[in-house]
Symmetry: C2
């Protein structure tokens, strides 16, 4: 059987930085070529970055993408890497064009090009366009209906893109009949908890259907709210895992594959094939190099160890935070430290992402802050080596209250806003990015102050329910213990009952159900979309169901103003959920014209 040395380049492009991304492609192709690779595969839209959102609708951006793919082909040829075939994602244009309202002809497509000997020798446009959850590809792209089969050293290589793997029918369904020896899938597949297990099962099934090994290459790194976990892998048609890259790490997996030889009598030309989804795919044969290579000794490639569930989530938070800070060009971050668990874990994530020297912590005590709060904050800063300062807020709060008589919620929110203003002032003065410390349970129920504790540039725990905040804190301390390091998080911050400390003796449990109960209900209502009746049938307390639904439905306004944060669940509060702010829909039997929502559509909350 012919051999091919394949390189899976698991890289971290930046949306819009075409020059930088092209450099990534050139430098990793050089890396692979130096190690004898014949084929190097990059993730989806590697040249433009993914997701590029409405940039794709700018003609000049698509022009730049098209120029960059040609220039990159030329550079690889000029710099002596022309013999390596490189599969590179970019944004192209439909050759036919589909004029429609709001979109001119020559509509954009999500493409890969095969670069060889200084030229673009084949192009493929994604056929299945995902348009759910975080995906909006029906907005940006029109589908492709051509599948190039590229013969490289006597092996026919087919390439499809991401969603083409997840849907039945389409180009992938004709790969077996076309006689491909290798199926390449390039991806920009965002991380979600446990997605790696689903991915392995799916790739194994598709390799069996295609009748040849499948090489899956995914992006790595954070881009705004998305985190890409890498986890690139190769499976053979019997479901055996031949190689697997680490999660959340940039790198390049090289492996040698013995592949079916291409049929000698079928070379170039086009064939129409029924694609099983109502569409017809045009198979296009392109020959780069017809003859198999002389046999050579294969490399030994291993499989990277899997992270356990907590390590995986924690790595996603660190990756998302690091890349948001780096890609936005910040040198440092600042966090308000309350002594509680949320700010403790946020700081720990930041220190792991950036190093302690780039992390500034500030305790902002009020007249209601307990002594242990200040002590726990100072303890955490000392354990982790952050730059720490204390800025009391009492006199500023007094100055406000000298101008306005405030009571109840207004007085509580004032304190949170004074803290937010102080953190933003430090940000403006010193150039730090403010990290907010709210978790998903708070965010879902609106248990936060607009322009107060929700003020800031990035929210590392945005998609982490409170019970998971505790679990991750314990996991992080245990991980330190395993490495014989001191615990980064004070035990007291983990163990004490949570409180916003905005009035004397306040506890979260005054306003919210106990977190294990709340998080179970939020999971069922938010992640699994169960309705009120289903929630009650599932055994949740009917009164709590109504309370929590009311809080979640009413908190939409606040969530819209919340900073971005790394996504780890099926439904986070970013682009996944788009609810109309003024909606009066309630899952429970709604009172006609209910009172103004108490929390979220009162942006005053």
């Amino acid at each position: 059987m012919p051999q091919l040395r394949v390189a899976l380049a698991q890289v971290n492009p930046t949306v819009g930085d075409l020059a930088h991304n092209a450099d990534l492609v050139v430098s990793w192709t050089r890396h692979a070529a130096a190690r004898g690779a014949h084929l190097v595969v990059f993730p989806e839209m590697v040249l433009t970055g993914y997701p590029a959102e409405d940039l794709v609708l700018r003609r000049s951006f698509v022009d730049a993408s098209l120029r960059t793919v040609d220039e990159t082909a030329r550079r690889l040829g000029d710099e002596g890497m022309g013999e390596v075939a490189a599969i590179v994602g970019y944004v192209g244009r439909s050759p036919t064009g589909t004029p429609r309202v709001g979109r001119p002809a020559g509509a954009p497509q999500n493409c890969v090009a095969v670069l060889h000997r200084g030229q673009v020798l084949a192009r493929y446009a994604k056929h299945h366009l995902p348009n759910y959850g975080v995906f909006d590809e029906a907005r940006y792209f029109v589908p492709g209906d051509r599948l190039p089969l590229v013969r490289l050293h006597g092996v026919d290589v087919a390439t499809v893109i991401c969603e083409d793997l997840w849907q039945n029918g389409g180009p992938l369904s004709v790969v077996r009949e076309a006689g491909a020896g290798l199926l390449v899938v390039v991806n920009g597949s965002p991380y979600e908890r446990n997605k790696d297990d689903v991915r392995l099962q799916l790739t194994a099934r598709r390799a069996a259907e295609a009748g040849c090994p499948l090489a899956y290459v995914n992006m790595v790194g954070g881009q705004d709210e998305l985190v890409f976990d890498g986890d690139s892998l190769v499976v053979d048609p019997d479901g055996r895992l031949l190689a697997r890259a680490p999660q959340f790490e940039v790198g390049c997996v090289l492996l040698d594959l013995d592949l079916a030889a291409a049929a000698a009598d079928v070379t170039t030309g086009e064939t129409q094939m029924q694609a099983g989804d109502g569409s017809t795919v045009t198979l296009e044969r392109v020959v780069l190099s017809p003859a198999a290579l002389p046999a050579y000794a294969p490399l030994h490639t291993g499989q990277a160890a899997r992270l356990d569930d907590s390590a995986e989530v924690y790595a996603a938070l660190v990756t998302g935070t690091r890349d948001y800070v780096e890609k936005n060009g910040f040198r440092s971050v600042v966090v308000g430290l309350s002594g509680g668990i949320d700010s403790a874990l946020t700081t720990t994530v930041a220190v792991d992402a950036l190093g302690a020297d780039r992390v500034h912590t500030v305790a902002l005590p009020s007249r209601y802050s307990s002594e242990h709060s200040l002590d726990d904050a100072a303890d955490l800063a000392k354990r982790q080596g952050t730059h720490h300062q204390v800025v009391p807020i009492e006199q500023v709060v007094d100055a406000f209250e000298a101008q306005l008589q405030l009571s109840g919620l207004a007085a509580e929110n004032l304190q949170a806003r004074v803290r937010g203003t102080l953190l933003m002032a430090l940000s403006n003065e010193h150039g730090h990015l403010v990290l907010t410390t709210g978790n998903k349970s708070e965010l879902a129920t609106g248990y936060s102050t607009l322009y107060g504790d929700s003020a800031g540039g990035f929210a590392p725990l945005k998609d982490v329910p409170k019970t998971l905040v505790w679990a991750l804190a314990r996991w992080r301390n245990a991980a330190a213990a395993q490495r014989d390091e001191p615990a980064p998080i004070p035990e007291n911050s983990i163990e004490k009952p949570p409180s916003a400390e905005l009035r004397p003796g306040q506890l979260d449990s005054d306003s919210l159900p106990a977190y294990p109960i709340l998080d179970a209900l939020l999971d069922a209502y938010v992640e699994r979309d169960l309705g009120r009746d289903e929630l009650v049938r599932a055994g949740h307390d009917p009164h709590l169901v109504e309370t929590v639904i009311r809080l979640v439905d009413a908190a939409e306004y606040k969530r819209r103003q919340y900073p971005p944060g790394p996504k780890i669940s099926p439904r986070h509060f970013g682009r996944d959920r788009r609810l109309p702010i003024t909606s009066r829909w309630r899952e429970m039997a709604a009172p006609r014209r209910p009172d103004p929502p108490q929390v979220a559509t009162d942006p005053a909350g």
Copy 2:
């Protein structure tokens, strides 16, 4: 020719308030029935409200929609209106189902039902799903491919939905061949400047293609960032305008039409027809009442006068503001009055929307506020009769500065944030909604303070460029003069040079080009999407082009945190433009790895 009395019910539903929306349908059907109407037509998705966004993805919401349409049919029958045919929009489910990743089978559809004699007698699902600008319908719905032709008093009536009118091919293209006597189009068509002219041309063209009169019914009112302008109309196939409803007003147009008689020999059954867009439409004939009515004396229906361009935009701002406040259940609003033109116009819009008694104004002078600022603010409050107070910020700013040493931008932003915090405190204490006063030119260029002047619940001028702010202020004063009323806006607020007054002698022109030049450039870059080279070729100064592109590209983060505001232009900064926050794409020749953006992706700005 058979006659029909048609009622165009131009109503204002609320997203998610199914009970209220059903009441609207019942009460306006009663209104129409009392005036002898045979057919009453409501806007798109009237029972659920539009756009319902991700509510559509909740099974329980679609169930509630389906229940409501059945119940409404029954109510109309029970309450003696069964003989009137009512065309009512709702969210339904595809009978066939299209299973796919992220969406279970039985996918939602954007539907209308024909209600008659207590029952749902025909259903139509939208064929063309808009998925650009503010529209996301490919996310929520699957297309329909059936066209019911409903025979009412001897006339065959065809109904399509909104985008079906704008696209070529599809159900509308078979209406002529099917022999319809009347084409009904139900719409949720958001307002944009000058859209009424486009709409009239398009409906006339489609009526000619259909060979029968076309009755176009649009929604009216504000829903989050969208404003619906009504403007319902009827045109005949010769392009004559037979009736036109007022813009931005709830109401019901009744008119009598002489229509082609349905062919007596073709009655029920299904026919497959090629729809000109690659799809096949199933024509389904339903008979409600076969015989024409005895001749009767027709009503005389006029055409509402058109608003001029400024009146139209102003009405959109008033409508959007009023409905945001009302649909969110607020009783009052509060505005920070600087004495400048933006807060003056915002207050005037609020008073026109809600009445002066529901509008609270606050002057928040600092050490840099000029005397005329306070005077102009007080003058405006007096002219309009708002509840006015003065809250100086100097002592609060001093208290902050006693805690932190701040300079430059940090000191300027602090003042804006103290004002934002005071307005939010008044909001929390008294239940007012805070209206922010920023305009589109500021928002586009990031010339504002996060959590400062951008803090609040709704931004009436969000989509209004600064030059248009001045034009609307002058128009509003002139409109008052025409009615022999005093000018609501002090001339001084209109004429003085704009300043943020955050440091001594500061003027907007220190940081930004003159507004007429800036707004022309923003229009070309933001609304018309011209690239850098095209802007320069169009005669814009190359240095200014680079400055403005840099500001606009960098301001994305701030825009994401900006409150909603009524949309009046093709590209506003809401759901229309979705740019990746961390993108490094620049229209100009970009420096590699540019310095951290100065404005927006520094959320500290």
